[in-house]
Symmetry: C2
Subunit: 333 residues, 2 copies
Amino acid sequence: MKGQAHAFLKALEALVENGGLPVNVKVMLEGEEEIGSPNLGAFIAKNKAKLQCDVVLNADGGIMRPDQPSLVNGLRGLAYFELWIYGPKQDLHSGSFGGSVHNPAQVLCELIAGMHDANGHITLPGFYDKVRQMPAEERRSLAHATDEEWRAMAGVPQLHGEKGFTTAERLGARPTLEINGIVSGFTGEGAKTVLPAKAMAKISMRLVPYQDDNEIESQLRTYLEKHAPPTVRWELKKFVSGPAVLVRQDTDGVRAAFKALEKTFGVKPLFKLEGGSVPVVSMIQAHLGVDSIIMGFGLPDDNLHSPNEKLHLPNYYRGIEAYIRFFDAIAET
Amino acid sequence: MKGQAHAFLKALEALVENGGLPVNVKVMLEGEEEIGSPNLGAFIAKNKAKLQCDVVLNADGGIMRPDQPSLVNGLRGLAYFELWIYGPKQDLHSGSFGGSVHNPAQVLCELIAGMHDANGHITLPGFYDKVRQMPAEERRSLAHATDEEWRAMAGVPQLHGEKGFTTAERLGARPTLEINGIVSGFTGEGAKTVLPAKAMAKISMRLVPYQDDNEIESQLRTYLEKHAPPTVRWELKKFVSGPAVLVRQDTDGVRAAFKALEKTFGVKPLFKLEGGSVPVVSMIQAHLGVDSIIMGFGLPDDNLHSPNEKLHLPNYYRGIEAYIRFFDAIAET
């Protein structure tokens, strides 16, 4: 780590000797990314003139290995829902009523089970209509850890995903549908013979470019209208959602970022499709017409959104160095 | 209610005038029924001599309507399990890993969904092998509320159950499989894009006579071994369970109970198969060789095991009266 800290200090010294940054910088900070940036779009639209710029740098991305730099050229979007199934008017005794009433937890499980087919495809009507076929060359160029590295990182007995696609494609180029949470009935210790009154699941889709979260919502409603039995009532709530985004690769900004990364890491950078969602990228694209350079240094095993979240310190210093070098490189264009 | 209280007082007066009960009474109280009476069987076996008796009276039953008395001639048994599905080593970011890892909540839903077929039959291999076919006459004689009464009591849009059987049969004569609880991932307010590390469901079966809870466990294990995917690990825990029970109807005790109920309510009693489970009944049958007379006065809308549990007071008094009359009637046999 000493080496990285030393290199970063040298870059900082050069910055001081040169009398500061060679470019003008505007900084925008937001604190709502984790809940889908509900207010940021309106803010950017309102402050268009103030925010006008040539290049946007965004640190909310990651690289796949500590020593392999990469830039994110695409992010998945998000559509997030809460599905409620209501059965009896209140929790019932599973002996007195069991067998005569449709159990809402069972109904919810059946509805969720039906959302994927045996090949791991999502069954919502029209879900893949707008998903672009990726050219063979682009498929091959997708950078990713090996399956065994990835399996060990996730800590699962075996990877799983949509048939016919590689792990890199499943993560960056294909939409997904995940159960983020589910709850019903008695979940404490021991046994309670209750027939629950209701059941809830949090269901979210990661979207790829051209998929629209409003269309996804109506596909989900169509699915539920068709498959939810008349023995229960259901309710669907939508949380903040956003589209996927692709960023251009042939820009001065991207070339400057490549130069800075290569100089810092001593390794040629790659492009990477990121599975997560960063709403500000598409908002800036829409309102300011500028593609973001997504240059961050998080690692897949950083335990994002999970206990023991961490940061790999050598790349904290490399990140600072790469940013300083980026400002030099972009000033030269 | 005044009428019932008055009748009960008159019966009590007669009891006092007669100089007390005309029979000897032994009282056994237990406090573990709700967790399946784990210690009671051993207690009865150990105190066989002390507990020896001609007739057993058990108050843990119910009647179907406030003015229609009935005796329980069968109780379902119970097999109670907790099923755990383990996926990633810890919660993952659903963007970074979603699409490449099998979601344990989804796996659990798929396993649960597969436990019933489209006709509401339970699919565990061999589950119905020991379930007796009920004679047509017995099917017809089963007493129950109307479907509309029952639907309103449960507060559901529509009743639901195994195809080919009436509500009375579904409740008393057919085994069931219920989800008593399920939990996985994020269940708080709002959105969290987590891919859960594990998922848990509490699953219990109500058993009918001749089904054995150990066999049911191995049927469930066989089902899971066949259907659980290699992308996850699973664990099955069994909680206290017990068999179903049928009690004979042509005994002096039952005849005395009928007499007492008819005198108290002014209405001929019916027989009723109870959906719930009362372990002590089969324990006494096994160790003392005595069938219990299950004469209780709970109502289906008493909200058992649920908020606002209640007791219908007029039947509280009728219950006391019926018990006093029962002691007289049994003394005469």
